[in-house]
Structures are given as structure tokens and as C-alpha cells.
Amino acid sequence: MVIGQGALALNFEKPKESVVDESLLEKCRRQDYEAFGKLVDAYQNRVFGFVRRMVPTGEDAEDITQEVFIRAFQNFHRFDMRSSVRTWLFKIAHNLCVDRARKVGRSPEQVSLALSADIEEEFEVPDDRWQPDQMLAQANLEEAVELAVSQLSEKLRSVLILHDREDMPYEEIATTLNLPLGTVKSRLFLARTHVQNALKQYMEDRNGNLA
């Protein structure tokens, strides 16, 4: 996608996966403080980015992110290296977010989801005239996307962020969230459709205000 002039400065840095090699993980398993620090350097912003979008406040997100790394440090001997360390960290993060949601009385289980069979009946898919490039030019688009994502249920949001923000493949998301592969795809489709509708609404409101 071409981002035209005047678009928001959206920076997305690729994670430094290469710094996390086998020897570093082995040191972490032996409770090496310095090695664990390097692991934190590699993942802290990514984990925080996920958690920040899963809980309502930044303060909560900071607390949970700290808790993720403390739990990882405490239980590194249990990490069997069959999955990637990223999968493991995001799994801890997701579980802590779910725990937090339960504590404040917003159980993710209570969110109703329409699954793939009803997708086309449930959601209106915008036509091809809708152009994301034009939307990018809008000053408040970033906030609109953030708002649309925050309005998703936890179940849809987690899949959307892990796939579209963290570039996780479907299989890894399935492992992280302990879901069947088909459910991951259905939820991703639903999440994107919700965001698309929210942005369409946003554009209509904005155009109405300008007129």
C-alpha cells in the first residue's frame, strides 16, 4: 500500500528476532539475569503493544507486561522450546489479560461471537469503492483504527492483533490462544470486518460533518 504525503507517520519496526538464539534461551533457563535482560529488550515493546490493546488503561498494561516477564523468569525451566519464545510470552500475556478481565467482571466468555457460517449474513461488507489510501490521509485515522480495535471483544481483538500487528501465522496463534485453526481464521475475518464497518461509519460521520 502506498502511503501518500500528509499521511500519519506510522512507524512499525520489525522485531529483532535474531538476538534471541538458542544459547540465550539456554542461559535464561539457567536463570541468567543478564541473558534474561536481553530477552526483555527484544520483546518488551511487542508484548506491551499487545497487552496495551487488550486492557483498558496504560497503567494496567504496564503492570501486566511486568508480570509477564516476571512469570517468564520464574518459570523459564518449564519452557520446553518446542514452541517459540514469542508464542510462550504472548500466551502468558494473553492469560494474564483474560485473568484481569475476569477480575474486573468482564468475562471474555460472555461475549457472543457469530462464527464463520453466518459471517455474510451478519456483516455488511463494504464495496470496492472504499479505499484505505484515502482514509490514511485523514488526520484522525490512527485514533479511529485504535478505537475500532478497542471496541472488539477480547476474543476477536487478540486474534487480530496477533496476526495483523505481530505477524504471527495462524498456527502460532492457534497454539498461543489454544484454539482450533478454523476458529482463528473465523475470528480474524470477523475482527477485520468489524473494524472495516467501524471505519466506514467513521468516514460517513466525518463526511457528514464536513458537508
Binding site: 507486561t65 475475518f189 473494524v195
Partner: protein, 151 residues
């Protein structure tokens, strides 16, 4: 890699839907959301917590080593006691002759002593010689003795 068995048809439909232009446009927008950065204060707070956790783990490990070695020594001592004490307490078949032997030795020594006393009395020097020896060792001078000291 299929982790769970899933309906092939559903997967194909989902894949084609997920790869549509509109879906990819949303994916692109989500991907370009700004990265959230954590503060240095947050990091130093985390470092402190991890350091405290590492120290706690080290202490636990040390305590575990001390306890396990103490337990090992304790167990070994207990086993040793269990083996040794009953053996020491139990009267063995060899212990009884030993005590008999000592009694025999004692009685034979006593008999030997009595025999030597009798022999001493009967032989030439006799009791008088022994008594004379006793007087020789007394503090009295040769001229100062009297008959009452003999009897």
C-alpha cells in the same frame, strides 16, 4: 501444519475471504498502528523485581542444598543407628563365655594369691619374717621398741 483437524471446506473459504482486498486493507491499517514504547522507569522497576526474584531463587536453591544434605546425613545417621544399636544391645552367644572367662580368670588369680600366702606362711621365712619387715619399716629406732608393739 495442522494442529487440530478442521473442516477443509471452511478453511478454504476462510482463506479466500481473508485474502480479499478489503480484509488485507484492514490488516495493513492495523499493522501500521504505532508501536508502544515503555519508559526507562518501567524497565528499571522490572530489573529490580527480576533481581529480587533471582536472589530469592538463589536463596531457595542454597536452602534446598543445605536441607537436602542435612537430610541425607540425618538419614545416613539414622540408618547407622538402626543397624548398630540393636546389635550392641542384643546379648550375643559370644558375650556369655567372655564373662565366664573373666570369672574363671578372677577365681584363678585369687586361688593363686591364696596359695602364695599359704606357701609364704609354711616356708622358712614364715609369718615372723614378714612381721619383722613391718617393724623395720616403722619410725621407731632400734632401741626404742617394746614388746607391746609385737603383740
Amino acid at each position: 501444519m495442522a494442529i487440530w483437524p478442521s473442516d477443509k471446506k471452511e478453511q478454504v473459504i476462510s482463506d479466500s475471504k481473508l485474502e480479499s482486498t478489503q480484509q488485507q486493507a484492514i490488516a495493513s491499517l492495523v499493522k501500521k498502528l504505532p508501536e508502544e514504547n515503555l519508559s526507562m522507569a518501567w524497565r528499571s522497576s522490572l530489573n529490580e523485581r527480576i533481581r529480587a526474584e533471582a536472589e530469592k531463587k538463589r536463596k531457595q536453591r542454597r536452602t534446598r542444598i543445605v536441607w537436602s544434605s542435612s537430610l541425607g546425613f540425618g538419614m545416613a545417621g539414622a540408618i547407622l543407628l538402626m543397624v548398630m544399636v540393636p546389635n550392641a544391645m542384643r546379648p550375643t552367644s559370644e558375650a556369655i563365655p567372655t564373662s565366664n572367662k573373666s570369672e574363671v580368670l578372677e577365681s584363678s588369680l585369687y586361688a593363686l594369691h591364696q596359695e602364695s600366702v599359704v606357701l609364704g606362711g609354711v616356708s622358712s621365712t614364715g609369718v615372723a619374717y614378714r612381721r619383722t619387715q613391718e617393724f623395720d619399716n616403722s619410725d621407731l629406732g632400734e632401741d626404742e621398741w617394746n614388746s607391746s608393739q609385737i603383740y
